[in-house]
């Protein structure tokens, strides 16, 4: 049995599983990277930049 894209049900399932695995991997990597960023105190740099008027952003210098 093939779908509209010419893929059999089995290969479609394999492809879907691969994408799902990649999605889980990317989300886990994202969560870990955010945790590492917080641990390295990068958030403070973001906060400091964001809470003072960014003169470059508004075109002052």
């Amino acid at each position: 049995m093939k779908n509209g894209a010419g893929l059999s049900k089995k290969s479609l399932k394999r492809q879907t599983d691969k994408v799902l695995f990649l999605q889980i991997l990317l989300i886990l990597a994202g969560v870990l990277a955010i945790a590492a960023g917080i641990w390295r105190d990068e958030v403070r740099t973001v906060f400091m930049k964001a809470t003072y008027i960014c003169l470059e952003c508004i075109g002052i210098g």
């Binding site: 999605q23 994202g30 955010i34 590492a36 973001v46 906060f47 930049k49 964001a50 470059e56 075109g59």
Partner: protein
Amino acid sequence: MAKLPLSFRKTVQGVWTVLTNGYIIGFFQGKIYNGRLKNLCVPGLNCYSCPGSLGSCPIGSLQAVLGSAKYKASFYLLGFFLLVGTVLGRLVCGFLCPFGLVQELLYKIPFVKKIGAFRLDRPLRWLKYIFLLLFVILLPLFIVDAAGTGAPWFCKWICPAGTLEGGVPLVSTNPALQSVIGFLFQWKLAILIVTVLLSILIYRPFCKYICPLGAIYALFNKVSIYKYHVDLQKCTRCKQCEKTCPMQISPVGEVNHAECIR
């Protein structure tokens, strides 16, 4: 059932823009919000120097961390892009970006002949990856002053969102800032005016050709959790979707293409 006066997309875009820019008092006082919410980034391009902004701009934040003397990589922003990109892809561009909404509204201005696909349209879309690599990553990282600090090159020399959301409201309400405007402000204002004019003629020109944030999310479009599924057995190949798509891609032939903003 009564039809909504606005489309679902416009409603979400409007509500999101108001929610993430809810520090209304800032617009009247010429100040910006400096509470704890600014520790967090918003998914779309939303200048953190916009008086109403409650969150941080991810592109500005990335340049701030890369340009700081302390760090040469940003795990916080890498993780943010991995997470948001994997879940939503360029849905962010379509639904959660205030600057995208501004361009869409400008494109609605009638009485002007709109420009659809043109010969250089597709090659020009690669420009945003160059802006990402050069202005957001390499220049802030490697062109540093004596203290080891790099400037946010994209925000400083290119970003019209910063001029519109931060520059114009702050300069118009803050006399101290008015007294120090010079060439850079005029340059950025010129870029904003060109962007506004082009947005009347072309659908989302900044998103298509310039936006480094869109370039990042584009990398996730094929694998993101939210994406289009086309039932090819039901497709009649009428190409109506292709003719309707304002991003000039084929939703059937190029499903979940990097340029698809959902």
